[in-house]
């Protein structure tokens, strides 16, 4: 058993190197491909976009629909194109009234919520605001109940990504073209790397303590929200805010292990009990965030996102920096685990805590360190994911928690490199699946993969076969 640590090292590293090389090659390939001009409204320092996409009740694009935008002394008009998309550029912040000309709808189509036309949209210069006009049979509002049901959980819906462009993009996907595949592939890689930052802690904590921590998603949220508080409420520069958020995250890991998990380990609670406790903790933390910061959407940075066009693939500058940061952080973790004494001790604890303790390793110290590193990385992941989605909220981590579980299970619970490989696979699956399934089902696709993996190879891609799932 102990020997597995030594044997597992080289192949895992070789595989990780291969993945990185492969990515670099792909990046180069796109760089030289001819550039395509973006045809849609792109917000910049002086322009805000109000846009949307209209589809018929059957999900086909509704073309030729006229939309009028009025407000702040401005009047603009747009007509949906062949994809059903429309966009209006405005130059002032503030409220705009968006009116859909019902007479221009395709024959037989009606608004699902006639009360929402005209509707008010708030535009921010440098960002896109969506105005949705779903078509279909009118639905009446759900009847109010006097129930004690979790009304707040309604907002658990809507993964933050849906707000990314402010456009609900959920009808059947269009044709699969090379630029689309390339765009989704790039997004998948970036998202996967950010997900890896968030997941590695989950994997390390499982590896060293056997705890499946359902509250790890809240560590991710904590990072994002701390960055929001520092950057927006305290007006600190983004870089400083990010660093402080990671420090807060790491401290929370230290405090959590000291206050909750170490005493409970001493008390002798088993892994299942501890898992249910993390579920309770996750609820406590989520609703504490919502209690103080509200259930709305928050933005860590309101700066104008700028992007470059690499062979038809639009990448935000921010995403490039985020990717670089996560590669450096992941490289640091790899170096720590492989090359330092403490890192080797960590892997020894993961492999066999009793044996590690017998050979003079201070197991509790290692576990504390793992909590600090894991929570710090999760916070970093949270900051970067919040920037990547351009929005964060009290339940951001909860939304991606199962993706994180999918990633670490896929890679093999408890192995750090497995978490990296698994995250990239899950990132690719969730972004690229929107080429073939409606994009609001892409997380479902990733979760289906998780279930399939547990059936076929419960120990994960890089896990050891001795583990019985």
């Amino acid at each position: 058993m102990h020997g597995a640590v030594v044997h597992g090292v080289r192949p895992a590293r070789a595989r990780a190197t291969l993945v990185v090389l492969f990515l670099a090659l792909l990046m180069c390939a796109w760089w030289v491909a001819p550039a395509h001009a973006a045809s849609e409204c792109v917000p910049d320092a002086s322009i805000a976009c109000i846009q949307g996409r209209i589809r018929t009740a059957d999900g086909d694009p509704a073309t030729g629909v006229t939309i009028t935008v009025e407000g702040q002394g401005f009047t603009g008009e747009a007509v949906t194109d062949d994809d059903g998309r429309w966009a209006v550029e405005v130059t002032e912040d503030g409220e705009y009234t968006v009116t859909l000309d019902v007479a221009t709808l395709p024959a037989g189509e009606v608004l699902r919520n006639p009360a929402d036309n005209p509707r008010t949209v708030v535009a921010d210069v440098g960002a896109s605001a969506g105005a949705l006009f779903p078509l279909g049979a009118p639905a009446s509002a759900p009847s109010p109940g006097d129930s004690p049901s979790p009304s707040v959980s309604d907002s658990e819906s809507a993964p933050p990504t849906d707000a990314e462009a402010g456009v609900e993009d959920s009808a059947p996907p269009g044709s699969i073209t090379f630029p689309r595949v390339a765009q989704q592939f790039t997004s998948g890689i970036i998202f996967g790397l950010l997900l890896a930052l968030a997941s590695i802690g989950l994997s390390l904590i499982y590896g060293t303590t056997g705890l499946s921590s359902f509250s790890h998603g809240e560590q991710v949220t904590l990072g994002a929200l701390a960055a929001y508080v520092f950057a927006q409420l305290m007006d600190l520069p983004l870089l400083v805010a990010g660093i402080l958020a990671v420090v807060v995250g790491a401290l929370s890991g230290y405090a959590q292990d000291a206050a909750i998990w170490k005493p409970l380990r001493k008390k002798g609670l088993g892994p299942v009990q501890l898992m249910i406790i993390t579920i309770g903790l996750s609820m406590v933390l989520q609703y504490t965030f919502a209690f103080f910061l509200g259930a709305g959407r928050l933005r860590i940075s309101i700066a104008t996102p700028t992007s470059i066009n690499v062979g038809g693939v639009i990448i935000a500058h921010q995403s490039i920096i985020s990717t670089a940061i996560s590669l450096v952080a992941l490289g640091g973790v790899a170096y720590f685990l492989q090359r330092t004494w403490t890192g080797r001790a960590t892997r020894a604890v993961a492999d066999n805590p009793a044996l590690a303790a017998a050979s003079g390793i201070n197991v509790e110290r290692i576990i504390r360190l793992v909590w600090v590193i894991g929570a710090g990385l999760a916070a970093l992941g949270g900051v970067l994911i919040g920037l990547y989605f351009n929005v964060t909220s009290w339940n951001m981590g909860g939304t991606i928690l199962l993706l994180m579980f999918a990633a670490v299970t896929l890679g093999g619970l408890g192995t750090a490199f497995g978490a990296l490989v698994g995250s990239i696979v899950i990132g690719l699956v969730s972004e690229m699946s929107s080429l073939v399934i409606p994009s609001d089902l892409r997380y479902a696709g990733a979760l289906a993969i998780l279930i399939l993996v547990l059936l076929v190879r419960p120990q994960g891609i890089l896990g050891r076969a001795e583990r019985i799932g």
Binding site: S143, G145, S151, K267, I276, G280, A295, F405, L450, I451
Partner: protein, 328 residues
């Protein structure tokens, strides 16, 4: 502070249809976890499937009974699909898979592409699918007031729904009580305590676990139907928090007991209502708004779950010796 109204609200929670719905779902979870030791973290998925099955069938013009049967059949199919691959997995893996499966049900149900069937994100509004249940009503039309409580006799959040819901709770308690003391129930408990010992006696552990999953899931589906009847069928109202509520109240009342789920449900919702009502009256809305009070009550639920597992895993009615959470 208006104590009469607060008290009426709190006591009203004891027999509200939602309390009954959670109790039934928790009785189902009790079959999974309390009796068999299965860590099903996806009970809300069963509830949602039952509610969709019922609502879609009755919306198509069929009777409430047909709707119930379709909801049950759908939950049985879901249990089979979920159980076949996963019942051989270890506890925490089973938890992750069931929670993922329930999320898949929710994400598919709320997907815009499923609007034609499930109403997508908006869900299925109450006015349509409830008619079939109203048609079963034996009470006269109109409203009735008993003591402090006035409800419609037949419609939506009605006296009729309360009567049927709590009769169902009583029926399922009886069922679980009989099952627990039957040879079948003893095999389930054996699996919970020591799977290998049961296997060595020649019983098919897998088959018994599957039966337990199906029975508990079907109860979850019925709970989901009662949950949706006073309101609407909306995917996000039966998400992960719902599962966690069911777990909390089951552990509060006491897993592996007959009345634990019922007591837990009544107690949890009544206490939450008490806390919320008092806070709304005492704290000015400028300090804490209604939404924040709602969130505060969820923080209490989370804390309750943590403290219960740490200090009193057997809950109020349970037997500590019987309930060892750390089964496979």
């Amino acid at each position: 502070m208006d104590w009469t109204r607060i008290l009426a609200n709190v006591v009203g929670e004891f027999f509200s249809p939602i309390t009954a719905a959670y109790a039934i779902a928790a009785i189902g979870l009790n079959v999974h976890f309390g009796l068999t030791g299965l860590l099903n973290m996806g009970q809300a998925g069963f509830m949602l499937i039952g509610a969709y099955g019922f609502a879609i069938t009755t919306l198509a013009g069929h009777s409430a009974l047909t709707g119930l049967l379709v909801g049950l059949a759908a939950s049985v199919v879901f249990a089979l699909l979920l159980g076949m691959p996963t019942l051989r997995l270890r506890g925490d893996y089973l938890a992750i898979v069931t929670i993922a499966a329930a999320e898949i049900v929710r994400l598919v149900g709320r997907s815009t592409s499923m609007t034609w069937l499930t109403g997508g994100n908006a869900g299925i509004a109450g006015d349509g699918f409830k008619d079939a249940f109203h048609a079963t009503c034996l009470l006269p039309e109109g409203n009735s007031t008993i003591l402090f409580w006035t409800y419609s006799n037949c419609y939506s959040n009605s006296w009729w729904l309360r009567i049927v819901g709590w009769l169902a709770v009583a029926l399922f308690c009886l069922l679980v009580w009989r099952l627990m003391n039957s040879p079948w129930g003893r095999v389930l408990k054996g699996i919970r305590e020591d799977e290998d010992a049961v296997r060595s006696l020649g019983k098919s552990v897998y088959s018994y676990k599957m039966q337990s999953l199906i029975l508990g899931g079907a109860l979850g589906a019925i709970g989901g139907i009662f949950f949706s009847l006073p309101q609407a069928v909306q995917a996000d109202s039966m998400g992960r928090p719902t599962t966690f509520f069911v777990w909390t109240l089951l552990l509060l009342g006491g897993a592996a007991t007959v009345f634990g789920p019922v007591l837990g449900s009544m107690l949890l919702w009544a206490v939450l209502m008490l806390v919320k009502s008092v806070m709304r009256d005492v704290i000015p809305s400028t300090v804490l708004n209604t939404e924040q009070i709602e969130m505060f009550s969820f923080i209490i639920v989370g804390l309750t779950l943590m403290l219960l597992v740490i200090f009193r895993p057997q809950g109020i009615l349970g037997d500590k010796k019987e309930l060892a959470i750390n089964v496979r």
